[in-house]
């Protein structure tokens, strides 16, 4: 199953309310057969620009990141569900690519180019 990362920006709320929103988000994920790997909080900060969503302008928000494995079929349904949620300001779903090996960075590339040119 491919690995996804959901980065949500939630409305600036009190702790129990934020917990409730996260709980129902993760529950929807689990309902659709996703395997949640981790849920991280990236802090509550001032938004880089004012976001108008659900008839109100927001300046602060809580950033959260959910790492999970799921089938590609639930992607569109999930995004639709999150867009309708009043407390979610900006949901973004990304696919996590397998990391490229760091050994093929700058130095190795330059070497390869040199050896190719000399041949």
């Amino acid at each position: 199953m491919p690995r996804y990362e959901l980065c949500v920006i939630l409305k600036a709320m009190q702790r129990p309310e934020t917990a409730a929103v996260l709980r129902r988000t993760v529950e929807t994920l689990l309902e659709r057969g996703a395997v949640v790997r981790s849920l991280e909080s990236l802090g509550e900060r001032r938004l880089p620009y004012k976001i108008s969503k659900h008839d109100s302008r927001h300046t602060h928000g809580g950033y959260f990141s959910v790492d999970f494995h799921a089938s590609p079929k639930i992607v569109s349904e999930l995004l639709d569900h999150l867009e309708r949620d009043i407390d979610v300001l900006r949901p973004t779903l990304l696919k996590k690519d397998p990391e490229l090996s760091q050994t093929h960075c700058c130095g190795a590339q330059a070497e390869e180019a040199k050896s190719a040119a000399s041949r």
Binding site: C7, I9, L42, L47, P48, Y49, I51, G61, Y63, S65, L89, R90, T92, L94, E99, Q102, C105, C106, G107, A108, Q109, A110, E111
Partner: protein, 136 residues
Amino acid sequence: MFALSLSRLLLQALPKKPVTPRATAQCIRSLTTSQQESLKKDDMPMKMENPYKSPLKTCILCNVTVDFKNVQLLSQFISPHTGRIYGRHITGLCGRKQKEVSKAIKKARSMGFMSVTLKDPQFIKDPDICGIKHFE
């Protein structure tokens, strides 16, 4: 008369044919001695790695993973006045990393992590990587 006789003496003294060394049995075995041979072998150049090899050229972000969440790192490659992404000739990054950085900045902007038109005020005092001189 004297001059003639002197020249004749000289002619007699000078060897007419090239002198070949009398080759004895001992000589034929080795024209050079064993000591000379070992010296010759030691004198041959040894195979070794180039001692003057210069270190491989790397860019600043060579072994650093670029993430859209790392807003501070990404903010170092944008203008503090306009928020525009600096080009390759200013940042000095290799092709790969420049692409990664610009993609991450655009991603962060659309996801609501980074501002579009300005640089976050808390990151303005960060060390200058790009070395660009702004018009003042």
